[in-house]
Structures are given as structure tokens and as C-alpha cells.
Amino acid sequence: MGAVAHVLAVNPVPARSQMGSSLGFHIILACFGIAFAAITMIAEWIGIKRGDAAALLLARRWSRVMAVLVAVGAVSGTVLSYEMGLLWPGLMGRYGAALGGPFSFEGIFFFLEAIFVGVYLYGWRRLSPWAHWWSGMPIVVSGILGALSVVAANSWMNSPAGYTLSDGKLTNVDPVSVYFNASTPYETAHMLLAAYMVTGFVIAGVYAVGLLRGRRDRYHRLGFAIPFTVAGILAPLQVMMGDIIARFIAHNQPVKFAAMEYVLSTQRDAPEWLGGILINGKVYFGAAIPAFDSILVGFNPHTVVIGLNSVPPSQQPPLVTLIHLSFDLMVGLGMFLFALAAWQGWWWWFHRRLLLTAWFLVPSALSGVAAVAAMEAGWVVTEVGRQPWIVYRLLLVSDAVTPSSGVTVTLGVILALYAILTVVSIGVPMIMSRRWRRETPAEEEAEQVPYGPAPTRAAP
């Protein structure tokens, strides 16, 4: 009890919880902002190329859901940019000049994305089919570049670069080196793949439920197959990428890596722990594969892996068990998604048709939840694993947090509001889909969404 009270009394905890929940919420919507347009455009391309009405209808409906999700994401993104200042004035006051560059570029790309979501929605019946298809391209490109910018800012906090300090004050900033710091290529690639996988598996999961309920028409088969293919092709790439990044972290942020893998002291023949809880320096309930961690890091059982004890306890991350289990969860779910994709791929290769048995569809229906959980676990690893630093080896979280009182209040309000926002972002698409099934075609045409045109009153 004493320990709990102590943790609650430490100032950064409410602020970290608020930042974590806001970020954890926003990142899901950000995935759809990044990847939904590309998946929609594949459906549209099939629709135009083959004159496939089902594919075109999917694309039109998806574009409306995309608009709702981008609109929610715009608000949760606004919240985040406020919170950067409200919760972490110590960070922004010292390093805002360095962090600001990537964020400013993200602003441009989001602006562009929002505008072209509007163009895409307005353009459905106001542009020729191919002109309309091309009008979706800026959404895809700005989604990718926007993600690159924001993740570059986060990477900078892991691998600060491109700045000169004198007397603890920032005197020189090189925005290009800030943007392309050592972590940028790894983190951005990992996140972009994750965004496409989350989006693909979530949409596929929705149509898997429809297929399980017996709606097996071409519309539902395509609605499942297009996003599942996109996510499935990327799943093995993500597994490879994850392996490369783990090795990078072992060199770049060895203490984070030690927490991820339960490397308590610097050692050769470091075992790979699967599961397990760390209590007082001992791992319970875990399975250890001897020397495998050393092999993963250096392709050799005798590779030395740096342990938690390489830094004093004050510089070790808290909640090591949480970091390790989140890492295991992410890897496990990634493997599950990879296996699911491989299964469908194998079937398609030999039978040239979709595998649509219940044995396959039930786990597929859950694949969206799994992908989201894996991504959230990954963010827990990278953010909690960097503790107690907010900027690695440069600024402590406790020096960055606001001295203002009242963060516990805003934390409560944010949690309540985000519960509402979650209901909206899941509920609105559900209501829309129910209406699509129930309403007459004319009513569907009159549906109004953010960014979209006002309903046409008279038939043209």
C-alpha cells in the first residue's frame, strides 16, 4: 500500500496517464487516417477497372466511414497538441524549438489530408471516375508523410540529434538532423506497417462478422478480401521489421531493451524469457530459452547483452513487468496475424478462392482487435521503456511535467470524454451500416457526413 501511495503522489503519474490515454486513443484513429484511403482506392480501382458495382459501392461507403474517423482524429489530435504544452511545459520550453519542426510539417500534411478527404467525398459524382480516383492519391501521400513527421518527433525523443546546447540552453537547431535522427527510419517504417495492418485487419474483421452471419454475397467477400490482402501481405514484413528494430534498440537504447527482455544484469548467453513476472529481481512463471536472446541480438550465443544494472536504479524504467509483457503480447499477436495471413495465402495459392470456413473466419473477425492490441502494446513498450527519460538521456519526465495543480481533474475529464468519443467512433459507422441495410437507396444517397456534400435535394 505504501508503494502505491508513493507512486500516486509522484507528480508525473497523472500527466503520464493522461498523455498515454490520449495518445493511445488517437493512434487508432491515426491509423485509419493513414491507411483507410489506400484501401478504399484499391476497391475503387477494382470497381472502375472491372465495372464491379460491389467494389464501387464498398469504396463509396468506406469513404464516408473514413470521413467520420478522420473528423474524430482531428479532434483527438487537437487535444494532443494542447497537451504537449499543458502537461509538458518543461519539455516544450527547453526543446520545443527542436521538436516543433516535425510537428509543423505534420500540420501541413493533416491540412492537406482533410481538404482532400473533402474533395474525395464531393468528387464521387462530380468528377470522372479516373479523375476521382486520382483525387484520392493526395490523401494517401499526405497520410504517409504526416505519419512520418509525427513519428519523427517521437523518434527524436528516443535518439535526440541536430541540436547544440550551451549552459543547458538550446542555441542551435538543425531541423533536418532533428527530422532524420537515428531512430526515424526504424520507428516510421514500423508504425506505417502497423497503421496499414490495423486498418486492414479491422475492416476485414467487420466483414468477417458479416460473412459468419451468412451474408456471403460478392459485396461482403470483397469487403473482406481487399483489406485482408493488404494487411496480410504486410504482416510478414512487419515481423521482419520488428526483428530488425529489436536489434537496433539493443544497441541504441540498451536499457529499454533490457527491460523488454528481462536482462537484469549484463551477460553472455542471455536467455529469452517468454512471459513471466519480475518480482524483486527474479522472474516467476516465465519460460526461458537458453542463450536465445544473445542469438537474437548478435547471431551468437556468446553475444554480450547489456542489462538493467548498467545504469543506477534511478535511471531504470519502472514497471519492467509491464514493458516485458507488452513486448511479448505485441510479438505474439504479430505472429498470430502472420499465421492467419499465411493460412489464407496458402489456401488461395492452391484453390484460387477465399477460405471462408468458420474455423478461419472466427479468428479473422478478431484480427482487428488483435492488431490494435499489438500496436498499443508496442507503444507501451517504447514509451514506458524510455522512462524515466522524456528525451533519452537529456531530460527527465519529472523535470518536464507541469507544476500546475489540477492534472488529476483533467485526467478524469479526458477519460470520461474519450469514453464518449470511443462510443461515437464505433457507434457512428455501426449506425451507418445498419441504415445501409435498412434504408432505400435514395435515403442512402441523402446521408450526410463530415467533409461531405449536403444531400442533393432534387434528382439530377
Binding site: A53, A54, L56, L57, V68, A71, V72, T78, V79, S81, Y82, M84, G85, L86, P89, G90, M92, G96, L99, G100, G101, F103, S104, G107, I108, F111, L112, I115, F116, G118, V119, R125, R126, S128, L170, N172, V173, D174, R216, F299, N300, W346, F350, H351, T402, P403, S404, S405, T410, L417, L421, G427, V428, P441, A442, E444, E445, Q448, P453, A454
Partner: protein, 392 residues
């Protein structure tokens, strides 16, 4: 020590973005305010519908301006940003609450099916429109009066509850209502709604008079609470103040004469608001936080400032054509000869009548071989990756 030209230039960009938010975001908030006081469900139906139609296409794209303000402020003027965010934690959090509530109300309103739910979400949307401009106004009031310390130890309650700050809060609300009513007059005219033109013309006049009175009151209050800003407002920034007053009177005259010119009326009202913002910026110069943090001490290294130029240039180059295209499509009523959703639905449902998928072809020998080869290559590749590194 005088501020670098880069710092001044980024300051100018910041003031332009703030003016844009005051105009576009302000019109949005004002729409919510008029919605709030439009009366019962039946009486207020027509004006509400007009407000809704004119807000919907851009309703939260306008928050991008606010995000730009935040990002510009923390990149270019980090110490001032950190001080403001710490000292004014409470009003800033409340303004954020307003933004989120407005959004939730707006989103639900369009999907809520029952009238009662619609009414409730509508009320949330409308009252949240009051919160955000009011508290942002108190924030500006607190900054202008020099109540934000450079190194605050926590919330500074007194900073944003001074008479000047509260007056500024009311001024912001009134200005939002004013700019919005002027724009709504023109929206009504575009739709040929004579009754709504008169309705919003009357309200624009009233809001204009109230805004003018509040501006006068705030101005008088500043002579005590912010002598530096007041001196410059009556000195170097006086031309901007004069233009604002003249534009405000011109708008009232146009409304009185019912000369609802789409360009002139909009532009004059916009000038009236934008010049106040710029007047504030000019009057506060050379201080970020009057009179404790001058621009020269509070601005970022040159590299960061230059990056902001690039961003601003990119914004003009890329975002402007995008907006033009969107505007063109919005104005284009003519639909091309593409199938409607209804046609697509009919076509897609025809598919259901067709027999199921064709029978699967038997696994071909060639495909089996290829699959095996690919698996072998994959195993070989994995082995290659995990084998000990070669020396040499």
C-alpha cells in the same frame, strides 16, 4: 538587444494565423452561439438549418488553425509558450474542453435519431461554442496585461480573472457572434432566403454594437492594467485601431442600407476583426510576455525559425490549390454521368442471384512445386539471417 529579423517574421506569420483562426474559427463558434439562442425547436428550426448547412463542410478543419498557432508558438517562442501553458492551465484546459464537447455534440447530432437526443446534443454543441472563445479571450487578456510570469510555479488564478481578462473573454464571444452573423446573412442571401437575411442582419447589427462597446470598455481598462500595450495602441498601432473602427462602422452602415454585397460585406467585417488582432500584436511588440519577456530573449534558434518559413511557404503552395479545388467542387452543382449509389446497389445485389463461386480448380502440380521452392527459399533466407556473421 533587438530581436532577429527571423523572429519578427515568424511573429508576423503567427499573427496572420491567429487572425485566420479568429475569422474562420470565430465564425464557427458564432454559429454555435446563434444556434443556442435561436429559441424553441419550432421557432429556431430555420436559422438552425442554415447554420448547420454553412458550418458542416469546414466545421473542424478550422481547428487546424489553432493547432498551427500552438505549434508555431512552441517552435518559435518556447519559453513564452511554456510559461503561458503553465500559468493559464485552467482556462486553456477549459477551452479545450469546449472544443471536444462541441465536436461530440456535433457528431452525435447528425446521427441521433430521436428528437430528444438531438435536442440534448444540440444544446451541448451550442453551449460548448460559448466556452472556447470565452476562455481563449481570458488567456489573451492575461497575456496582454503582463500577468503571466516567465517562470510560473503553477496555476496563476489571478492572471485570467482580472477585469481586463474577463472583459476580453466577453469581447471574444461577442466578436464570434458578430462575424458569424455577418457571414450568415450572406449564406442566407446565396440561398435566396429573404426572411433569414433580415433575421441575421438584425443580429449582426446588435452583435456589432455590443462588440464595439466591449472593445471600448476593454480599451479603457487597458490604460490601467497594461500601460505598455495601451501606449502603443494609442501610438504606433493607432492606424490599425482606426481602420478597425472604420470597418466596423462601415459594416453597420451596409447592414442598415441592406447592401449585402458578397465580397465587400465579408471583407469589411473580416478587416474589422483582423485589424484588432494585428493591433494587439503590434502593441505588444517587442514583448512576448509584457513587460518581462522580450522577443529577443524568448525566440528559438535560427534553424527552427527558418523551418517555420519553409512550412509557411509549403502551406501556401500546397494547401491553397487544394482549397481551390474543394471550393470548385462545392460550387459545382452539376453531377457527372456516373452511377448513383442507388444504381450501384441494384447492380451489386443482382450478384446475389447468381450461383456461388465457380468450383475450385484442383491443386496443380506446378503450383505445388513453386510453393515448395518458395518455402525452401524462405527457410534458406531465415537461416542466412540467423547464422553467425562471417569473418573476413
Amino acid at each position: 538587444m533587438s530581436p532577429s529579423p527571423e523572429a519578427i517574421a515568424v511573429g508576423v506569420i503567427l499573427m496572420v494565423v491567429i487572425a485566420a483562426y479568429a475569422l474562420f474559427g470565430g465564425a464557427d463558434f458564432g454559429g454555435g452561439i446563434w444556434d443556442l439562442i435561436a429559441g424553441g425547436a419550432e421557432r429556431g428550426a430555420a436559422p438552425r438549418e442554415l447554420i448547420d448547412e454553412s458550418i458542416t463542410p469546414v466545421w473542424e478543419a478550422n481547428h487546424v488553425w489553432l493547432v498551427f498557432i500552438l505549434v508555431l508558438a512552441w517552435t518559435a517562442f518556447p519559453p513564452a509558450f511554456a510559461a503561458i501553458m503553465t500559468a493559464l492551465f485552467v482556462p486553456l484546459s477549459l477551452s479545450l474542453l469546449g472544443i471536444v464537447l462541441r465536436w461530440a455534440g456535433f457528431a452525435f447530432r447528425h446521427t441521433a435519431e430521436r428528437l430528444q437526443a438531438r435536442r440534448f446534443t444540440g444544446a451541448v454543441f451550442a453551449s460548448a461554442s460559448l466556452i472556447t472563445p470565452f476562455f481563449l479571450g481570458t488567456v489573451v487578456g492575461a497575456i496582454v496585461t503582463g500577468q503571466v510570469p516567465v517562470h510560473p510555479a503553477g496555476n496563476v488564478l489571478a492572471a485570467w480573472t482580472s477585469p481586463t481578462a474577463i472583459l476580453t473573454g466577453f469581447l471574444f464571444v461577442a466578436a464570434c457572434a458578430y462575424i458569424s452573423a455577418v457571414f450568415l446573412v450572406l449564406e442566407a442571401r446565396q440561398r435566396g432566403r429573404q426572411d433569414l437575411m433580415r433575421y441575421f442582419s438584425l443580429r449582426a447589427t446588435a452583435a456589432g454594437v455590443v462588440t464595439g462597446a466591449l472593445a471600448g470598455g476593454t480599451f479603457a481598462e487597458l490604460s490601467n492594467s497594461a500601460p505598455h500595450v495601451f501606449d502603443r495602441l494609442t501610438g504606433i498601432a493607432l492606424p490599425l485601431v482606426a481602420i478597425s473602427i472604420a470597418a466596423g462602422i462601415a459594416v453597420l452602415a451596409m447592414l442598415w442600407l441592406r447592401w449585402y454585397h458578397a465580397v465587400f460585406l465579408r471583407a469589411t467585417a473580416a478587416i474589422a476583426v483582423a485589424t484588432v488582432v494585428w493591433g494587439w500584436g503590434l502593441a505588444q511588440y517587442p514583448y512576448l510576455l509584457p513587460t518581462s519577456l522580450p522577443l529577443a530573449l524568448g525566440s528559438a534558434p535560427t534553424g527552427s525559425l527558418v523551418a517555420e518559413f519553409v512550412v509557411a511557404g509549403l502551406a501556401v503552395l500546397v494547401v491553397a490549390p487544394g482549397f481551390a479545388l474543394l471550393y470548385f467542387l462545392q460550387q459545382r452543382r452539376l453531377l457527372t454521368a456516373v452511377e448513383s449509389d442507388a444504381d450501384l446497389r441494384l447492380a451489386a445485389h443482382l450478384d446475389q442471384a447468381l450461383p456461388g463461386q465457380p468450383a475450385a480448380p484442383a491443386p496443380a502440380g506446378a503450383r505445388m512445386t513453386t510453393a515448395l521452392v518458395m518455402v525452401m527459399i524462405a527457410i534458406r533466407a531465415i537461416k542466412e539471417v540467423f547464422s553467425p556473421p562471417h569473418r573476413g
